[in-house]
Each structure stands twice: as structure tokens, then as C-alpha cells.
């Protein structure tokens, strides 16, 4: 956990994010160990790695570590509250949020100086959490706390893709810890209280085919209805939707294809999956229509590619 080596002393690939876990205290690591060892064992054959040369040469990782692994613990910042410090410990350490939300360099390490400027995970975009955030309403600590523990915020949307798993787990964490994480993450962006201007509702998008407008009206508008702040099934306004505001279309496309599920067996936000209902061409047109109508951002150029990625 601290050094990124296995019990035989071999290098571990940083796909296991020990560059974050190294910040965890010995006590926490010990507690994790006790918990894991208390689980009933199961037979499991570990599949062999499929890495190409030179990446399959483990000792190279030592070099990577010299460049990118900082094993020193996080020092307390006395100028900040205990809650902030606790949040930083969790976010930078076991939470390893930067593992998705920070861009990576060519060697696969998080880019120093670009912490929380946005990254990727499993085909989805992990939005920026710092001043580069594209949200209409700035993420406050309250909004983050709600989002992290419920998977939904009326100002931003629902957690989907890999983030859905994260918030399902955080629902089980102590709320004061979730709150602490929210406090820390909120501090990453300016908190100036100013919002991005959203386009006028019912903005016309010249050149949109009648078919696309009809499809939007029949398939989407029942929930994504501009009249209400929050629509049926906890639908968030498309003008506020984080997915719609990202520089790439991956999140919007994946949400349209696979929908959004509430946490298993519990109430929550829901969006139907349109993968089998609409063709790729229809989804691409819809995605571009939504981008043009609900934002003043440049149109996406990657929609067809993202649809094809998601369909794999």
C-alpha cells in the first residue's frame, strides 16, 4: 500500500493506485487488512497480465516510482479546519479521486500541476473538480456532500458509469467523512459564487432536422421538460447537466445508451436505456442537438466515435 511492492518484493503496476494509497496511515491500512482477512476466502485464479513490451517488464516500474511516487505522508495544514484536513487525507489517500479526475501524462502518471483538471475512467470522462470545472453552478461543499452520499444533485445530475459505484459505496460511509471529502473537494475550486451563463430555455437550433426534434419531443421531453427544475425520475435540466457540458460527448452518449439506474433496490434517479430503441445515427443527432440547444459551448466532434466505443 505504501511502496507499491507485493509480499515477494516485486514491483506492482500503478494501476493499483498506491501513489494515493501511500498516504494512508498505518492504522487505517491495518484496519483494512483485518477486514479483508475476515472475509470468507473464495477460489480465484488470477488472470495473467496482457501487457506489451516494454511495459511487461516489471522492474521498469522502479523507474516510474522514482519519477512519480511520493511516499511522504500528508502534513497537516494548520491553517485549515480539521474537517478539511480529514477530507484531504481521504481524497488524496484511500479515496484516490485524482486517479480518475486528474489528467495523466504519457507515462501514465497524474500530471503534476494539473491536479483535478479532469480525466477519464472506463470510457467515461471524470469532470474537472478545480477551477476548470464547466458546471453552470459551482459545486459547493453542500452539493458535493449530497451528491457523494446519494448519487444525485439537482444542480449537476446523477452519478453514472464508474462514479455510480463510488457513490453506492460512499452511501455506506460515515456522513462526517463524506462531508469532510466534500469540504476538501469544494476547496479545489474558487467558490466565488459566480455561475456560468446558461443559454435561454427553448433556444432554437437552426438546421436541426424535424425528425430529431420529433424524437426529442417523444423520447426525451417527457422527463427533460424545461418547465421544471427537476423532472420525473429526478431528471436534471439539460442546461445544468454535467454530462452535457463536458468537452467530449462520452458521458452524454453513454447515459443515452445505457440509461441511469437507481442504487440497487433503493429509490433514486432513473433514465431509460435507449441503446435498443434508437439507432446510432439518431443518438448522435440527439446528442448534438442537446449540446447545441442547452449550452453555449462548442459542438462536440467525437460523438460517432464515442457511440462506437460505448457499443463495444
Amino acid at each position: 500500500m505504501h511502496e507499491g511492492v507485493d509480499r515477494a518484493g516485486r514491483q506492482l503496476y500503478p494501476a493499483f493506485p498506491y501513489d494515493h494509497f501511500t498516504k494512508a496511515t498505518d492504522d487505517d491500512i491495518h484496519a483494512l487488512y483485518v477486514f479483508l482477512m475476515g472475509q470468507p476466502p473464495v477460489p480465484n485464479a488470477i488472470p495473467a497480465n496482457k501487457l506489451e513490451f516494454p511495459l511487461n517488464f516489471r522492474p521498469l516500474v522502479a523507474g516510474w516510482k522514482i519519477l512519480f511516487l511520493r511516499e511522504d505522508p500528508l502534513p497537516r495544514d494548520a491553517s485549515k479546519s480539521p474537517e478539511w484536513n480529514r477530507g484531504r487525507y481521504l481524497v488524496e489517500g484511500l479515496g484516490h479521486c485524482g486517479g480518475c479526475h486528474t489528467p495523466r501524462n504519457i507515462l501514465g502518471a497524474e500530471e503534476k500541476g494539473s491536479a483535478y483538471s479532469g480525466g477519464a475512467a472506463e470510457g467515461w470522462q471524470a469532470p474537472p473538480l478545480n477551477s476548470k470545472s464547466l458546471a453552470v453552478h459551482e459545486w459547493t461543499a453542500d452539493q458535493l456532500a449530497e451528491y457523494l452520499s446519494t448519487g444525485w444533485s439537482r444542480w449537476h445530475g446523477a452519478a453514472a458509469g464508474p462514479m455510480a459505484g463510488v457513490v453506492n459505496d460512499l452511501a455506506q460511509a460515515q456522513s462526517k467523512d463524506v462531508r469532510a471529502m466534500a469540504t476538501y473537494i469544494a476547496s479545489l475550486s474558487p467558490q466565488s459564487g459566480s455561475n456560468v451563463a446558461a443559454p435561454a430555455p427553448n433556444k432554437q437550433v437552426p438546421g436541426t432536422s424535424a425528425d430529431v426534434i420529433a424524437i426529442f419531443s417523444g423520447a426525451c421531453a417527457n422527463c427533460h421538460d424545461d418547465r421544471n427544475d427537476v423532472g420525473p425520475s429526478k431528471t436534471v435540466s439539460l442546461a445544468l447537466s454535467s454530462a452535457v457540458r463536458q468537452p467530449g460527448s462520452a458521458n452524454a452518449v453513454r447515459a443515452i445508451l445505457a440509461g441511469i439506474q437507481p442504487p440497487p433496490g433503493a429509490p433514486g434517479a432513473y433514465m431509460p436505456a435507449f441503446a435498443d430503441m434508437l439507432t446510432d445515427h439518431q443518438i448522435a443527432s440527439l446528442a448534438e442537438y442537446v449540446r447545441a440547444r442547452y449550452t453555449n459551448e462548442p459542438q462536440w466532434t467525437d460523438v460517432s466515435q464515442q457511440i462506437s466505443n460505448a457499443r463495444q
Binding site: 417527457n222 440509461g259 434508437l278 439507432t279 439518431q282
Partner: protein, 156 residues
């Protein structure tokens, strides 16, 4: 505006707003009452039809989006006007209380049995999960699907 869609193997010329969800067209313009309105949100499955054989919520599929794809409703499963094997299995198991969800259940189950003629109990439950029943007919529906899969002749 006229849109032509293929329903139960017949092309149908529909005069309706292109944004009209398929469900309303099937029920009103074509008087096919198999698919039903349950929520209009894609959450209950009462409106389930087949689009090129795949179970789909017709409440969220505007007719402008249908194109050349083939739509099948409960009525389209009949063989010479008689219940097909799965529909008959439901009748034999008396798998309906109010029956409102049943068309959706049959459409969903039919797609499973075409792809997997001998599903396990777990596979059936997982496949049927998107369809809701409020009367609590689930146990009978599972029996009906298994009966159709097994091709049994007499009542369990």
C-alpha cells in the same frame, strides 16, 4: 404527416405527429391493445413491444424514430389467431391477476425464450426484472415461462 411503419408484419400508414410515441399509435391509430400505458417513463414495461425482435419500451419510441424496423405486439405473436406456445402457457398456468402487466411480460419473456430456449430460474428472473407487476403475479409468471420453455403439456 404520414409515416409508414411495419407492425405485426403489415405496413401501416400512420397519420400522426412524428413525435408521437409508438405506444399511442399502436393503441389509438391501430387499435392494438396489447401494449399498455403504465408510466410513460420506461420504468414498468407494460408497453413492451418487439422492435426487430428486441423487447423495447414503446412509450418512449417516437414514430419518427422507427424507420424500417419491424414492430411486433402481443397480437403479433398469435399463430393463426390462436395463442402461441408462450401465451398458452400463461393461460394454462392462469398467470394473470388483473392482467394489465401481462402483455409486457409475454413480450419480454418471448424474447428470452427465442434467444435461450432453456433458461435457468436465475436467468429468467434477471431477464424479466425491468417488468413490474403490482398484483404479485410474479410466481405464476415464472411458472408460465418455465412451462413454455419445458414444453410441458399438463398443468404443474
Amino acid at each position: 404527416m404520414t409515416i409508414v411503419i411495419n407492425v405485426n408484419d403489415k405496413p401501416q400508414a400512420i397519420e400522426a405527429d412524428p413525435s408521437t410515441p409508438l405506444l399511442y399509435v399502436l393503441r389509438n391509430e391501430l387499435a392494438l391493445h396489447g401494449p399498455r400505458f403504465g408510466c410513460g417513463l420506461g420504468q414498468c414495461g407494460a408497453c413492451t413491444v418487439h422492435v426487430d425482435g428486441r423487447p423495447t419500451f414503446s412509450c418512449l419510441l417516437p414514430i419518427a424514430a422507427v424507420g424500417e424496423r419491424k414492430i411486433t405486439t402481443l397480437e403479433g405473436l398469435l399463430e393463426d389467431g390462436k395463442p402461441n406456445k408462450l401465451q398458452q402457457a400463461f393461460i394454462d398456468e392462469q398467470a394473470a391477476q388483473c392482467g394489465y402487466c401481462i402483455s409486457g411480460m409475454v413480450m419480454r419473456a418471448q424474447a428470452l425464450l427465442r434467444a435461450n430456449p432453456s433458461p435457468t430460474d436465475g436467468e429468467i428472473r434477471k431477464h424479466m426484472r425491468p417488468n413490474l407487476c403490482r398484483c404479485g403475479t410474479h410466481a405464476a409468471i415464472l411458472r408460465a415461462i418455465k412451462r413454455a420453455a419445458a414444453g410441458q403439456e399438463k398443468r404443474l
